[in-house]
Amino acid sequence: MPMTDLVQLALFVVLIAALAPPLGRYMARVYQGERTLLSPLFAPVETAVCRLTGTRPDADQHWTAYAFAVLAFNLTGFLVLFAILRLQHLLPFNPQGLAPMNADLAFNTAVSFMTNTNWQAYSGEAALSYFSQMAGLTTQNFVSAGTGMAVAVAVIRGFVRRSGRGVGNFTVDLTRSVLYVLLPLAIVVTLILIWQGVPQNLMAYVPATTLEGGQQLIAQGPAASQIAIKQLGTNGGGFFGVNSAYPYENPTPLSNLVQVVSILIIPAAFCFLYGRMAKDNRQGRAIFAAMGVMFLVALGVTYGAERAGNDLIAALPVDQSAGNMEGKEVRFGVVNSALWAVTTTAASNGSVNAMHDSFTPVGGMVPMFLMQLGEIVFGGVGAGFYGMLLYVVLAVFLAGLMVGRTPEYLGKKIEAKEVKLGVLALLSIPLGVLVLGALSAVLPAGVASVQDAGPHGLSEILYAYSSATGNNGSAFAGFGAGTLYQNTMLGIAMLLGRFAIIVPMLAVAGSLVGKKVHAETAGTFPTHGPLFVGLLIGVIVIVGGLTFFPALALGPLAEHFAMTGGLAY
C-alpha cells in the first residue's frame, strides 16, 4: 500500500474515532432533554413546535402510539413530496421549465426520499426544479434522517430504561434530531463545501462553449446545502446525476474528506450515545468495535481488490499500476473511491464518487454484501443502530443460552416475544433482496432493465434490490431503473426495508421497556469486551452469509472466478 493511501485512510479513521464520542455524548444530552450549548438558540423553537403540534414534551408514548406517529408522519411526507413532484411545472423556482415527473417515477422518488434511501431513477439536473429539490427533497433529507434517529432513540430507550412503559415522544425526538443535530452540522458542512467551490445559487443553467467549440449547459443550483444534508443524513441523493463524482458536488480532496466523514459521523456517534444512555459506556464501545472491525475488513478487501486491478486487462496494453481505474475519478484514485464505496454502503448513504458497476467483482461484492447485511455496519442515521440492535438481540439469544441462563441483555430477559419480533424484522431483508430480486430476474418486465448478460447482469439486479431494501440508494450503473416495473417494485423493497424493521423494533422496545432489570452478576452473559464483539460479528456474518451466499455465488463470485480464469461475459 502506498504511503499516501495509508495516510488518507488513517486520517479518516482518526477523524471518526475522535469526533464520534463527543458528538454521541452531546446527542445523548439532547435526547434526554438536558441543557446543551445550543439550547438557548433552539429551545424556543422546540417549544414553539410542541405548542403548534399540541405535544407535551414530557408525554411519553407507548410504542404503538410512537409507531403510529412515525407512520402517519411519513405518509404525510410521502403525499406532500409526491404532489410536489407531480406539480413542479406549476410551482415556482423552475427556471429551466422542467416538466412534471410521471406517476411511477414520482412514487418511486417520494418513497425513496421518505425512507432515507434516495434511490434516484432520474438525473437531478434534468428532472427536478429547484423547488422540488429544496422544498421537496431537502425537507425529506432532513426529516427522513430525523425519523431514523428518533426511532433509534426510542428503541434504545426500550433497552435502557429501568422503569416506565413509554419509549419517548416522536414529535419531540424528531424536532430535536433536526434542530440540535442535523441543522447545525449541515450548516458547518455547507459552509466548508461552499468554501471549496460547490455552487449555492438559484441561477439558470449557464451555457458554455467548450475548447472543441461544442456547446455545453453547465448546471447550477443550491447544491452545497443539499449535499451537506445528503451526507450527514445518510441520504445519498445527489443534486446532480453523477452524484459526488461530479466536480460541482465534490471539487477537492478536502471536500471529499469532509463528505466521507460526514457520512459516517452520526451513525458512529450513535454507539456512544447508546453507551451514555445505558449508563455503561462499555456497551456502546463494544458495538462501535463490532461495526469498526467489519468496516475495516470490508475496506481492506475492496481496496485490495481494486488495487490489484483486473486480470483480464492485465493482458492488454493498459497501465494498471494505479489499480482498477475504470469508472473512477482520476482525482480520487483507487483509495478514495474504495473508501467512499465502503463508507457509503456501510452507512446506508448511497452517494457515490465512483461507479460501483465498474469495480472488480469482489470490489463490487463487498458494498453489496454490506447492504445485504441490512445496513448495520454503522448504517443509516439511527436506522443502522436499531438494525444492529436487532442482531444484538439475536446474538444474545443464540449464544446467551450457552452460559446456562435465560438470555438477557442490559439486564432484560430476551424471551419468545422479542425473538419473534426480531425474526420478523430479519425476514424483511431476504424478502426484499432475494424474493423481489428473483422476480426481477425472471419476469420479462424486470429483465428488461438489465444491461449486461451473465453473472454481471445478476449482480446488477441483486445490487439494485439490496440497495433498495437496505435503504442505501446507490446503484450499479448498468441497471436501467426508471421503468414502471422497477419503479414500483423497488419502491416496495424500500418500504419493506424501512418500515418492516422500524415497526417490529419499536415493538421490541415496547416489550423490553417494562421488563424488570436483572442485577448483573458473574453469571451474567457479558455483552462487552472482545468475546462479545467477536460473537456479534460472527452472528452477523454467518446469518448474512448463509442468506446471501448462493445468490452471491451466482453473481459476483462467478464473475470473479471467471475473471481470474480468463473468462469474460
Partner: protein, 704 residues
C-alpha cells in the same frame, strides 16, 4: 440406611431402543410432526423427494440422476426418523423411570370414611378419591393418594418414593403431616384427608413432563423454536429464489438437489434434538429424586442469582459434634478426656456419642465401663448426663448452667476434699478461680459459633467440651463454584448473629440471615427480588409456604406439610435441602445443551454451502469449481454427502442431547468462551471433515 435411587438406565438400553425405533415410525403421524416445525418441513420435503424419485425414470436427466434422487429421498426420510428416534428414546428413558414409580400406585384400594369421626369405612378404588375425602390407613395399608394426616400418628415406609429404607413418622398437626400416595403405613393408624385431584398427583405431573406428546414447551424452548422457524423461513426463501437466479444465469438445477439444499440448511440438528434435550433435562431431575411441577421451574432454576440455604442439614451436619477438649488450669487433657468419655457413655444423643468418639479418636482411650456403678442418662430436663463410679466419684457433663447448678448442689465435703480449690460461698452460690476461667472458655467457644459443655468431677470443674457445628466437607468449594457462576449464597439459621457469623465465615457463604423467622425469610426474598435477583429456597414447614410461593424457585421437602408442597414449584423426594444446588445445575445444563447444539447446528451450514453450492452451479459456471474446497468427487456425491452428514449428525449427537453437555461451574464469560470454541468452532470444522469422509466412502462404494 441405604438409599436406592432409581437405577440409571444405560444410554442405549436394548429394552428402550426397540420401542423407541417403533415409536420413531409411529411419530411420522402428521399430527405428531406438526409439533416440531423444522422436522415437519423436512418430512414434507421428503414426501416431495419421494415423488420425484418415483417419477425420476420417466422425467429425464434434467430432474437429476434417478439413483441419486432416490438416495436423497431415502436419506431425507432417515433424517426425520432419526429426529423421531431421539425424541422417542428420551421419552422412553423418562417413562421407564416414571413407570417404576407409578407401579406403586396402580389401583390402590382405599378405606373411605364418611366423616372424620365415622366408625365404618367403605372400600373404594384409590383412583376415585377426590380432594377432601377422608381415608383410613392402618398398619400394612398403602396410602391411596397424596394427603394430609388429620388424625393419629404412624410410621410410614416411603422407600417406594424416596428410596429411604427407614420409616418416617407422620402425624396430624405440625410440619410432618403430609403423606404421599404409594407409601405404606408400617405401624399404627392414621386418618388422611386427600389433597390431590385425580390424575394430578406429583407423580402424574412428573410423568407428564417426560412424555413428549403432552409436554408443554418451556419458555426458552418456545423462543428457540420461533428462532428456528424464522431461520427455516429464510432458507426457504434462499432456496426458492435460487431457481430463478439460476435460470437467469442459464443453469438448470434438479429440483431434488434444491430440496436437498433446503433440508441441509434448515436447522434439522437442533430441531431434531430439541425435544429430546428438554425431556432428558426433566429426566435428570427425576433421577436426583426431584419432581418439578412444571418445565418452566427447571428452566428458571438456571437463572437463579441467590440461594437461600438452611444451615442445618445443608451447610452443616444436623448435629453438633465434639471438636476440642479444653482443660482448666491444673487439669490434664487426658484426665478431662477420660471424665468426659465416662460421663457421655450414657448419653445417646449425637452430641454425647461424638464426645466418646473424640476421646477414642484423639486420645485412643477405651471406655472403662467396669469402673461405673450407675449411669445417669441424658434427659432433656436435666440437660446433663454422667455416671457414679464404683469408688464414689461423681462425674457429670452437660450444659453450662446445668453443670454449675450441679456443682453448687454438691455436698460441701466433696468440694472441700479437694485441696487447692478453695470454694468461696457468696449469695448462696459457689465460685472459684477456675469457675472464672471456665466462664472465659465458655464465652470463647460461644463466640466462635460453638456450643460449650462443661465437665465436672465431684463438684470440681475439669474443663469445657467444644461442640461444633461441623461444616460439611467440600461445601466451601461448592460455594466458591457458585460464586464463580454468579450465584450468591445466603445461609438461613435460627442461631444468634454471633454464632451465625462464625459458621457463615467457616462455610464461606456470602451472607447469612440469623434468628430467621418465616417473616424475615419472606422479607429477604422480596428485597432480593426488588433488586432484580431471582431467588431459590427450600422449606418444609407450613410457615415456609409464603416464602416458598414468593421465591422464584421453591423446593418443598417431601416430608413437609401439604401447604409447603403446594407452594413450592419443585418437590424433593429425599427431603435434602442441599439438592437446591443440584437443581440449579440441571437447569443450567438444560439451557446450555440447547444453546450449544443450536450454535453447532447453524455453524454446520457453512460447510454444507461449500459442498452444495459449487455442485449446483458448476455446470453453468465451471469456474465455481474453485469453491469446492473439499475437493468432493462429483456434484451428486457432494449433495448426497451433505444430506447423509445432516442425517447422521442427529444420531451422533443423541447421546450428547440425552446426557446434556458437560458443565463445569464457571463464570458466564469463561463458559461462553469454552462453549463457543467447542460448539461454534467445532460446528464449523466437523462437517468439513464429515462430508469429505462420506464423499470418499460414497465414491469408494460406487454409490454415485
Amino acid at each position: 440406611m441405604s438409599k436406592h435411587r432409581p437405577k440409571d438406565t444405560r444410554l442405549l438400553d436394548p429394552a428402550l431402543v426397540g420401542p423407541a425405533l417403533r415409536q420413531s415410525v409411529v411419530k411420522l403421524d402428521p399430527r405428531a410432526l406438526v409439533r416440531n416445525p423444522v422436522i415437519c418441513v423436512t418430512a414434507v420435503v421428503a414426501v416431495v423427494a419421494t415423488g420425484l424419485a418415483v417419477a425420476a425414470p420417466f422425467t429425464g436427466a434434467a430432474y437429476g440422476d434417478p439413483a441419486t434422487v432416490a438416495q436423497i429421498a431415502a436419506w431425507l426420510w432417515f433424517t426425520v426418523l432419526f429426529a423421531n428416534f431421539a425424541e422417542a428414546l428420551a421419552e422412553g428413558r423418562g417413562k421407564a423411570r416414571a413407570d417404576s414409580l407409578r407401579a406403586t400406585r396402580t389401583d390402590t384400594p382405599a378405606k373411605k370414611l364418611a366423616t372424620l369421626a365415622a366408625e365404618g369405612w367403605d372400600e373404594v378404588s384409590g383412583a376415585s378419591l377426590k380432594p377432601g375425602d377422608i381415608v383410613l390407613c392402618e398398619t400394612g395399608d398403602v396410602i391411596p393418594a397424596d394427603g394430609e394426616v388429620v388424625a393419629g400418628i404412624a410410621s410410614v415406609d416411603e422407600s417406594a418414593i424416596t428410596g429411604e429404607s427407614a420409616p418416617v413418622i407422620r402425624e396430624s398437626g405440625g410440619d410432618r403431616s403430609a403423606v404421599t400416595g404409594g407409601t405404606r403405613v408400617v405401624s399404627d393408624v392414621i386418618k388422611v384427608k386427600v389433597t390431590q385431584k385425580p390424575g394430578e398427583s406429583f407423580l402424574d405431573r412428573m410423568i407428564g413432563l417426560v412424555e413428549g406428546a403432552q409436554r408443554q414447551k418451556t419458555p426458552n424452548e418456545v423462543a428457540l423454536t420461533i428462532l428456528l422457524v424464522g431461520m427455516s423461513l429464510i432458507f426457504v426463501m434462499v432456496v426458492a429464489t435460487l431457481e430463478p437466479f439460476a435460470q437467469y444465469a442459464g443453469a438448470t438445477i434438479p429440483v431434488a438437489f434444491l430440496l436437498a439444499l433446503l433440508v441441509t440448511l434448515i436447522p434439522t440438528t437442533i430441531g431434531g434434538l430439541l425435544s429430546a434435550i428438554g425431556i432428558a433435562g426433566m429426566d435428570r431431575l427425576v433421577k436426583s429424586n426431584v419432581i418439578a411441577k412444571s418445565g418452566r421451574a427447571v428452566e428458571a432454576a438456571g437463572d437463579v442469582d441467590v440461594l437461600l440455604l438452611d444451615k442445618t442439614g445443608t451447610i452443616t451436619y444436623g448435629n453438633r459434634m465434639a471438636d476440642e477438649l479444653i482443660p482448666l488450669a491444673g487439669v490434664g487433657e487426658r484426665e478431662l478426656a477420660a471424665a468426659a468419655m465416662l460421663a457421655s457413655l450414657a448419653d445417646e444423643t449425637p452430641e454425647g456419642k461424638s464426645i466418646v468418639d473424640l476421646a477414642k479418636r484423639k486420645y485412643h482411650m477405651s471406655p472403662e465401663r467396669a469402673r461405673v456403678a450407675t449411669f445417669v442418662p441424658f434427659t432433656a430436663q436435666t440437660r446433663m448426663s454422667g455416671c457414679d463410679l464404683t469408688d464414689g466419684t461423681v462425674i457429670r457433663k452437660g450444659a453450662v448452667d446445668a453443670i454449675l447448678q450441679h456443682v453448687v448442689a454438691q455436698p460441701e465435703p466433696v468440694a472441700a476434699a479437694l485441696p487447692g480449690h478453695a470454694v468461696i460461698v457468696s449469695d448462696g452460690t459457689r465460685q472459684s478461680r477456675l469457675a472464672e476461667q471456665c466462664r472465659r472458655e465458655v464465652e470463647r467457644v460461644a463466640k466462635a459459633g460453638g456450643t460449650p459443655l462443661v465437665v465436672a468431677e465431684n463438684g470440681r470443674l475439669l474443663g469445657v467440651v467444644y461442640l461444633k457445628d461441623i461444616v460439611k466437607p467440600g461445601i466451601r468449594e461448592r460455594f466458591a463454584q457458585l460464586r464463580a457462576m454468579g450465584i450468591r449464597t445466603v445461609m438461613v439459621t435460627g442461631d444468634n448473629p454471633l454464632t451465625a457469623a462464625a459458621i457463615a465465615a467457616e462455610a464461606g457463604v456470602d451472607d447469612f440471615l440469623a434468628e430467621a423467622t418465616p417473616e424475615k425469610k419472606l422479607e429477604l426474598i422480596r428485597k432480593e427480588q426488588q433488586d432484580g435477583r431471582l431467588v431459590a429456597m427450600c422449606g418444609d414447614g407450613s410457615n415456609d409456604a409464603p416464602a416458598l410461593a414468593q421465591a422464584d424457585i421453591g423446593i418443598a421437602m417431601n416430608d413437609g406439610t401439604p401447604a409447603a408442597r403446594e407452594a413450592g414449584n419443585l418437590v424433593d423426594l429425599d427431603s435434602d435441602p442441599a439438592k437446591l444446588i443440584e437443581v440449579v445445575m440441571v437447569g443450567k445444563q438444560l439451557l446450555i445443551s440447547r444453546g450449544a447444539l443450536t450454535t453447532f447446528s447453524i455453524a454446520n451450514d457453512v460447510a454444507k454451502y461449500f459442498a452444495i453450492i459449487p455442485a449446483l452451479f458448476v455446470a453453468a459456471y465451471p469456474q465455481l469449481q474453485a469453491l469446492n474446497v473439499m475437493g468432493l468427487a462429483s456434484p451428486e456425491s457432494a449433495i448426497l454427502s451433505a444430506v447423509i452428514f445432516n442425517a447422521l449428525i442427529i444420531v451422533a449427537l443423541i447421546p450428547l442431547a440425552l446426557k446434556g453437555v458437560a458443565y463445569r461451574p464457571a463464570s458466564a464469560a469463561s463458559l461462553l468462551r469454552r462453549n463457543l470454541l467447542v460448539y461454534g468452532l467445532g460446528g464449523l470444522i466437523v462437517p468439513f471433515v464429515g462430508i469429505k469422509a462420506i464423499d470418499l466412502a460414497l465414491s469408494g462404494l460406487g454409490l454415485v
